[in-house]
């Protein structure tokens, strides 16, 4: 039985760190050993969902305040790959947002829909005075 690999990261609330975290997400795609799908595509998708989730926290939950921080946890085992992004904002109704279909002419509103399309399970819940966006990918 292989062990779970877990990485916990804290970054300043600044978009310049998006690329760095995205690259870590890409690397973690190769830790989901039993994944049978296109691994390069999975790496790209993990980079993307991390970028979307973090940009959402930076711009909305943390109101672009560069002095705030964001916690991220990525863990992978044979059974799943779980990304958690923590925020201390007011929270939002993620399912309502996911149901809103961005019209092709809209400039924004695609981030959450992209996360739902690319991950197998998405949950957003409150725990210990913070919100957690939990995004899970299972081996195909």
């Amino acid at each position: 039985m292989s062990k779970r690999v877990e990485v916990d990261i804290t970054i300043p609330n600044q978009t310049k760190y998006l690329g760095m975290i995205g690259r870590i997400g890409e690397s973690m795609a190769y830790s989901l050993k039993s994944y049978n799908g296109n691994r390069r595509e999975l790496a790209y998708h993990l980079n993307l969902v991390l970028t979307e989730a973090l940009a959402n926290v930076i711009n909305h939950a943390n109101n672009c305040d560069p002095d705030k921080e964001i916690k991220i946890s990525i863990s992978a085992s044979d059974k799943d790959l779980i990304i958690k992004v923590f925020d201390q904002g007011e929270g939002f109704d993620i399912e309502a947002l996911a149901k809103l279909k961005a019209s092709t002419g809209d400039e924004g509103g695609r981030g959450i829909q992209i996360i739902y399309k690319l991950m197998d399970q998405v949950r957003y819940f409150r725990q210990d005075n913070e919100n957690i966006l939990e995004m899970t990918k299972y081996p195909q």
């Binding site: 690329g19 995205g22 790209y44 940009a55 809209d106 400039e107 924004g108």
Partner: protein
């Protein structure tokens, strides 16, 4: 964001010289396009050959440029998309909005 601009008659080509086009830098492209629109240049080609990664903010910047160009009777077309970037347009169905060309000569000739 590093943007290289070349003009071909009344068509302006913007080459995005970045590997990532995301929430950190896509505002720069949006501002550059608005500057061109203010200067009366409304026919744009965006060359994405160097872009390996695009997120919803990058897509939003391109939609903004497309809408502004169209509102001024111009057009914004895309060329040279890498496969993963192309897949993002398909995922979001934006490939139905933009004219996408495999190389910039084809894009130029289409105006």
């Amino acid at each position: 964001m590093q943007l290289n601009i070349t003009e071909h008659d009344d068509i302006v080509k913007i080459s995005v010289a970045e590997e990532r086009m995301d929430a950190h830098n896509s505002g720069d492209l949006k501002e550059q396009m608005l500057q061109l629109f203010d200067d009366g240049k409304c026919n744009l080609i965006i060359d994405l050959s160097q872009v390996r990664f695009i997120d919803s903010s990058g897509l939003g910047a391109l939609v903004s440029g497309f809408k502004n160009a169209s509102a001024r009777d111009g057009n914004l077309k895309l060329c040279c998309l890498q496969p993963q970037v192309q897949s993002m347009f398909e995922l979001t169905r934006l490939h139905r909005v933009f004219e996408i060309f495999t190389n910039h000569d084809e894009a130029l000739e289409s105006f």
